[in-house]
């Protein structure tokens, strides 16, 4: 088998290649399909970001959506047109006058979210068992309540409208590539290996001197920054941002994508996004079809969600490791390659 770094290189190349083909294909398709593909690419950024923490630490996070919330609002603060800001927010004028191009705002948003994750993560990474998952959920609730009520900065329940529509299929693709590379490099790195060791056994990891809390915190900050980037992309894709843009539904959808694909590999995260995006698009189409033929104005609301949850439960019960399991595309390819070489060697001898 190839060394892990080489397999990681193949993995990133294959995944980014596949997504590039998808984006290229969408460029020739209808505008509607282009939007679907862009949205899927944004979810790749989010779910791969989620995978960095969940996959390597083994801790299910119900709180990563809070990083998207924070990232999106920070970016909005710098990019919303000044007159909208004056109308909606009540901040000192010097702050309101701050304006930045979207890429710079996105970078600031990711950095600020990373700092937030560092501080909020300090108590969380020391917890054992299921407690960290609950604590991360607490983070989600806090950020949601904050977004709803901190009118001066977020505009409260009223949505911010008029964000620059800076997310094109190509920016989404670029960010997805960045996320995949970051996740693969981290996974192949020494730190990633140390964290996975702690995932398998906390006692064993401690006995060989691994600082579990520090490793978890590092992964949390990295994944929070990627999720923040995903949040920024999404806000600038919709052009609006409100307290309900990211909440329980986003939490469910991103987790479902991660679980269906396989949370222990980056390939799994990407696969999950593609499979569930395709499935939910199919059901959205069916929902519309039913209204047309049945002449029933009330579309069966909730059908799409029910279907996604059923897919997720089926995978969990029949194949708990997800479609890809813990196997990366790169490792799979090198295994196939080795198998073929072995057969060739056998026939020769």
């Amino acid at each position: 088998m190839k060394p892990p770094s080489e397999a990681a290189f193949t993995t990133t190349a294959v995944l980014i290649g596949a997504l590039t083909l998808l984006a290229l294909g969408a460029a020739f398709a209808t505008p509607y399909l282009q939007r679907v593909v862009t949205e899927a690419l944004i979810y790749v950024v989010m779910v791969v970001g989620l995978q960095v923490f969940v996959g390597n630490s083994g801790i299910v996070s119900f709180g990563h959506v809070s990083f998207m919330v924070i990232g999106a609002y920070v970016s909005a603060l710098f990019t919303l047109p000044i007159e909208k800001k004056l109308e909606l927010l009540s901040l000192p004028n010097s702050v309101l006058q701050l304006h930045a191009p979207t890429p710079l705002a996105a970078a600031v948003a990711a950095a600020a979210t990373g700092l937030f994750a560092l501080l909020a993560g300090l108590p969380i990474v020391r917890l054992r068992g299921v407690a960290p998952s609950m604590a991360l959920f607490a983070l989600l609730v806090i950020s949601h309540v904050g977004a709803q009520n901190w009118k001066a900065v977020t505009g409260g329940r009223q949505a911010m409208v008029g964000l620059p529509l800076a997310t094109t299929p190509w920016t989404a693709l670029g960010c997805a590539a960045v996320a995949i590379i970051a996740a693969a490099v981290y996974q192949a790195s020494r730190r990633g290996a140390l964290l996975r060791c702690a995932r398998e056994s906390e006692v064993a990891a401690e006995s060989i001197g691994i600082n579990i809390a520090a490793e978890r915190l590092f992964a949390l900050v990295l994944s929070a920054m990627l999720c923040a980037l995903g949040g920024v992309l999404f806000a600038h894709f919709l052009g609006t941002l409100g307290p309900n843009t990211f909440y329980l539904d986003t939490t469910f959808l991103t987790l479902a994508m991660l679980v269906v694909g396989g949370m222990r590999s980056v390939s799994g995260a990407v696969t999950g996004v593609l499979v569930l995006s395709a499935a939910s698009e199919t059901f959205r189409y069916l929902e519309q079809g039913i209204t047309v033929f049945g002449r029933d104005l009330e579309a069966p609301n909730g059908l799409q969600e029910v279907a996604l949850a059923l897919i997720m439960l089926t995978i969990l019960i029949l194949r708990p490791a997800g479609i890809c399991g813990a196997t990366e595309v790169g490792t799979l390819l090198s295994r196939l390659h080795k198998g073929r070489r072995d057969t060739a060697a056998q026939t020769r001898s």
Binding site: R126, V141, N149, P300, E305, L313, P320
Partner: protein
């Protein structure tokens, strides 16, 4: 007088949260599962009370209890039994997915809007004692919680099944070795959890007069926090944790400056994070919970 009023409110909310936390804690005890779908057991009771509107009260209450009880047992049999040995992460996500599924099944059938329902409206009237006004509902809640806690205490310490359940919560493998049937224990845990969820569902129906598909979510999140505060795996801890969270919530409502009140839940969950820094294991960390090689 006002502070006495606040005190009654605090005890009332503490009692409700304690019941919710025990409902979540009892399943964690026997199965190491945090059951997100507990919220939908609450909804099941509430929607049954809604559907039986017009029937006599005892029938609606009995119907609600039965609905949650049966649904809890079905949930265990269909969704959780096959993955009982899976990792904690898988269990957690499965219950999360199940909760989401049930919520949207409710949306499919009843729609996403809250529906009005009236159950025992006379309970929203208040008793007057001087300047103190206490709704009958709060009195009923506090007294029935005391009764339920007493019954649970008797069950877990005096009955064979209850003792077996506590043994299984301490060490599941050991309990099985001395003849405790795992299927029966886990089913009993779900059954009790379902009955407790029904009580919460009825309380919410009487208190708010509405049912909606996400009515159980908020209280279950609080129950999770409460079980962590109390110490995962300890039922007494869950009850204490629930009570403390309820009291803290009312205290924040009463003592926070007016302009900060909308952030009450953020403060509540923030306090929870701060508490975790001080006591990451919770108040009553069971001794046996430490991991040995």
């Amino acid at each position: 007088m006002n502070s006495l009023q606040t005190l009654v409110d605090a005890v009332n909310l503490g009692a409700v949260y304690a019941l919710a936390a025990i409902g979540v804690g009892v399943i964690f005890g026997v199965m190491r599962l945090i059951n997100f779908a507990h919220g939908e057991l609450i909804s099941a009771a509430a929607f049954t009370a809604y559907l039986l509107e017009g029937q006599p009260v005892w029938m609606r209450v009995a119907g609600a209890l039965t609905a949650s009880f049966v649904m809890a047992l079905l949930m265990e049999r269909i969704a959780f039994r096959s993955i009982r040995k899976a990792s904690a992460a898988t269990l957690l996500i499965t219950s999360f997915a199940l909760s989401y599924l049930l919520q949207h099944l409710i949306v499919l059938v009843f729609g996403a809007r809250p529906l009005g329902v009236s159950l025992l409206p006379q309970l929203s009237e208040s008793v007057r004692a001087g300047e103190l006004r206490i709704p009958w509902l709060e009195l009923a809640t506090i007294s029935s919680t005391a009764l339920i806690l007493g019954a649970l205490l008797l069950f877990f310490h005096r009955s064979r099944l209850g003792v077996a359940m506590r043994a299984a919560a301490e060490d599941f493998t050991m309990a099985r070795l001395v003849g405790v049937r795992s299927d029966r224990i886990i089913a009993a845990g779900f059954g009790i959890s379902g009955l407790l969820a029904a009580c919460i569902g009825l309380y919410l129906v009487i208190q708010s007069g509405t049912v909606s598909y996400r009515m159980g979510v908020d209280i279950v999140l609080v129950a999770f926090v409460a079980t962590v505060v109390g110490g995962m795996g300890s039922l007494g801890g869950a009850a204490l944790g629930g009570f403390l969270v309820g009291v803290t919530s009312i205290a924040l409502q009463a003592f926070l400056p007016e302009s900060w009140r909308p952030y009450r839940d953020a403060f509540l969950f923030g306090l929870f994070l701060a508490f975790l820094i001080l006591r990451p294991g919770g108040l009553m960390q069971p001794r046996h919970r430490r991991e040995w090689v």
